[in-house]
């Protein structure tokens, strides 16, 4: 086989692996579900055109040249999608480093490693870009339907953004490896991936709160102040926005720059990719938890279980990144709370649904980790204590963790608005209990490392968990503003939970 043929063959192999990983994620690893997953995705894509219409429909008539405010809004949207893609790409690169089990095979084969790993880097970029195009499709479709085929250029912009995000992600991850070592890189990369995606939106919210006392991200983007400090419309900064609107020259430059960046990353980092991957594979040996011999602690069997769960949660990189992200999401409402303290604004009510929603979502993840993500199920099953007490101890851990995270915020709220604090506390408790219950009803034993795929084991549970959190968040918000509507919303959410229980496998 010639070198070119080998590389082509390896590229096909990489794409097949990426496709199968994606398919397994969509179908929960069950091949028989492929057709259902494809139909579900097509339906989801079709339905997504409706919210896409609501979000971008009004921008379809935009034509060049744009005023500064429009340029800021379009550029912010592109920057946001770039941040999200960067987050996704960091996650993909980390997964390739730590999870692929073919390194020995590749490195013992008679191929040039730098070339092979260049292909692997290109495959990562391609998979990130494909995913981005897929997600952007409903929005660009809407723009094309309402504004004409010139919006096709937006697809090329998404591709360019995806390629540059993948290139930066690879560079960041490999540099992290060199600077802090493989063990810490895994954790830091997961935190970065979680935080980068949300960070941009949150920064906009913080700016809006500080300037205008509102949670609206658009307030800052469409403000006079932003337009004043923004560069001139002819500036290079606006080229991505102009490219999205069909400016051929800007489009060509943007795509060329992205490809050049990816090529540079491939040339610089592909020879080091192998070393990095080997270090990642060997990671773990040096992860020490301290060398002091501590006396064993006593207590009941449930205490032993709770202690173990707390230690595992504390050491779980996913949980740390997710908690940080949730806390990051709570920064804007906390800031709003602080501002409200000085000017008693009515916007403070907005804090309650944000907190309740965050608690519900976090409780769902925690409940999966503690209840389903048991790495030694046989040990626990052969221990001399009833299964109900095992589950009870795990639920206690979920609720205690939620309390620890949200109590300070509710305490601060109580200082300012005691009634709202009481409603928020009840909302947090109910949302957390509901999410935990859903995880219990749809419990499927898995390893903690499979957490990423937890949402694919039951779509019903995933949607039920999301709608339950939204429902309780809305109920809490309505209780503070329109109590009669809160009753209806609460009954509807409880009904949703009852229906979920009726459909759950644990009931059978």
């Amino acid at each position: 086989m010639t070198r070119a043929a080998t590389l082509t063959w390896f590229a096909r192999h990489e794409l097949r692996l990426a496709w199968r990983e994606w398919l397994a994620m969509m179908t929960g690893g069950r091949r028989r579900r492929t057709r259902t997953a494809v139909i579900g995705l097509l339906l989801f894509g079709a339905v997504m055109h409706l919210p896409a219409w609501a979000v971008v429909g009004r921008y379809a008539d935009l034509t060049l040249p744009l005023d500064k405010t429009s340029l800021i809004v379009v550029s912010a949207a592109i920057l946001l999608s770039w941040a999200l893609m960067l987050s996704q790409a960091i996650e993909s690169v980390t997964r390739v480093f730590y999870a692929r089990a073919d390194l020995d095979l590749i490195m013992s084969s008679p191929v040039r490693l730098a070339e092979i790993f260049s292909v692997r880097i290109a495959a990562i970029a391609l998979s990130v870009t494909s995913m981005a195009i897929l997600l952007a499709m409903p929005f660009i479709d809407v723009l094309m339907i309402a504004g004409g085929v010139r919006w096709l250029a937006a697809f090329v912009v998404v591709a360019a953004v995806g390629l540059s995000a993948a290139a930066i992600a690879i560079a960041i991850t490999i540099v992290l490896f060199r600077l802090i070592g493989p063990a810490r890189t895994r954790l830091v990369a997961q935190i970065l991936a979680a935080v980068i995606g949300a960070g941009f939106v949150i920064m906009l919210q913080i700016a809006a709160i500080v300037s205008y006392g509102t949670l609206s991200r658009f307030a800052i983007l469409t403000s006079e102040a932003a337009a004043t400090i923004a560069p001139d419309p002819t500036s290079l900064v606006w080229w991505p926005a102009r490219a999205a609107l069909g400016d051929a020259e800007a489009l060509l430059w943007l795509l060329s720059a992205s490809l050049l960046l990816l090529g540079l990353v491939m040339a610089v980092f592909s020879p080091r990719f192998a070393d990095t991957a080997i270090q990642a594979a060997a990671q773990g040996v040096s992860s020490r938890a301290g060398t002091k011999v501590k006396a064993f602690r006593g207590g009941s069997r449930q205490q032993a279980l709770r202690r173990k769960e707390f230690v595992l949660l504390r050491r779980d990189p996913w949980l740390i990144s997710q908690t940080l992200m949730q806390l990051l999401y709570l920064v804007p409402p906390a800031l709003l709370l602080w501002r409200s303290y000085s000017d008693s604004s009515a916007a403070i009510v907005l804090i309650t649904p944000v907190i309740v929603m965050a608690a519900g979502q976090l409780a769902g993840g925690l409940a999966w980790l503690t209840i389903s993500g048991e790495d030694a199920p046989e040990l626990v099953a052969t221990a001399p204590l009833p299964a109900a007490r095992v589950v009870g101890a795990k639920i206690e851990v979920v609720l205690m963790t939620i309390s620890i995270i949200f109590a300070p915020l509710i305490a601060a709220l109580a200082w300012l608005a005691p009634w709202q604090a009481l409603v928020t506390a009840c909302g947090v408790l109910i949302a957390a209990v509901a999410s935990t219950a859903i995880q219990l009803w749809f419990r499927v034993q898995g390893r903690r490392s499979q957490f990423r795929r937890r949402q694919t084991s039951s779509r019903l549970a995933t949607f039920a968990e999301a709608f339950s959190s939204i429902g309780w968040a809305a109920t809490a918000a309505l209780l503070l503003t329109i109590p009669e509507a809160a009753l209806i919303c609460g009954i509807m959410t409880a009904g949703l939970l009852a229906a979920t229980w009726k459909l759950s496998p644990q009931r059978e």
Binding site: S286, S287, F296, A304, L379, T382, A383
Partner: protein, 249 residues
């Protein structure tokens, strides 16, 4: 619990999946005995032991652990035994000492006794350098040793092991065999499945041969030879002869 009851008494044990995996099995293991359960793949060895350990509910039959009805009072039965599977299941983010502390806590063992015992166990298994390392970087053999230490830390009267030597190097295997033999000498009972017939031949007081979910032969090596009319043959040859006969039937 009767004072002279067998360590394990199984009567008419039955479990069907698509087909019968265990088919009316009767088995008795004496106190202080090292019992090896051997049989071809899919014979029902693991299913039998998983039912004994309380991991699977039998379709029919009775299980007694030291005279305690394990199906009626599983908690009391579990208090006296330990289970080690062929695929060691431990927590990646815990160190061996933390894992053993957790297991001792689950069995309600006094920490004053379990702490030093855990330390000694890990040392005897050659894990002195790894006491404070998280298990995520451990090889299969090291994980198996941690799992075994976890099974022994609460000083069970009955230890059930499913292929405990799979994946262990010669030195590790010797450590494990030494520990198990020591437990038996101290009055404990060990039941083990294995594909390594040499180990069964050398270590077990009695050997049970299981095929198609039924016990087809049982006894000491001498008794097995006598039952088959072969006075000077290895367990491997006996095993093949027994399993072939069962397969032909």
């Amino acid at each position: 619990m009767t004072s002279n009851a067998a360590a394990l008494a199984v009567r008419g044990l039955t479990k069907c999946f698509d087909r019968p995996a265990v088919d009316g099995l009767d088995l008795a293991v004496r106190r202080g005995e090292f019992y090896a359960l051997v049989g071809p793949n899919g014979a029902g060895k693991t299913t039998t032991l998983r039912m004994v350990a309380g991991l699977l509910r039998p379709d029919a039959g009775a299980i007694e652990i030291f005279g305690i009805d394990a199906l009626r009072d599983p908690i009391a039965a579990k208090q006296m035994m330990a289970w080690v599977s062929d695929e060691p299941m431990i927590y990646d983010k815990l160190t061996p000492l933390e894992y053993l502390e957790f297991v001792a806590g689950l069995w309600g063992i006094d920490p004053v006794a379990s702490g030093p015992a855990a330390h000694a166990l890990l040392l005897s298994l050659g894990l002195e350098r790894n006491l404070h390392e998280r298990c995520e970087g451990f090889s299969k053999g090291m994980r198996q040793k941690v799992a075994l230490a976890g099974a022994l830390v609460h000083d069970p009267r009955l230890i059930i092991l499913d292929e405990p030597l799979t994946g262990l190097d010669a030195v590790s295997a010797r450590h494990v065999k030494g520990l198990l033999a020591e437990r038996v000498r101290a009055g404990g009972t060990v039941i083990m499945t294995t594909h390594i017939l040499e180990v069964a031949e050398r270590m077990a007081d009695r050997i049970g041969v299981i095929a198609a979910g039924r016990l087809v032969a049982e006894g000491t090596l001498t008794e097995l030879r006598q039952q088959n009319g072969r006075t000077d043959t290895s367990l491997e040859e006996l095993f093949i002869a027994l399993v072939d006969v069962e397969h032909a039937a």
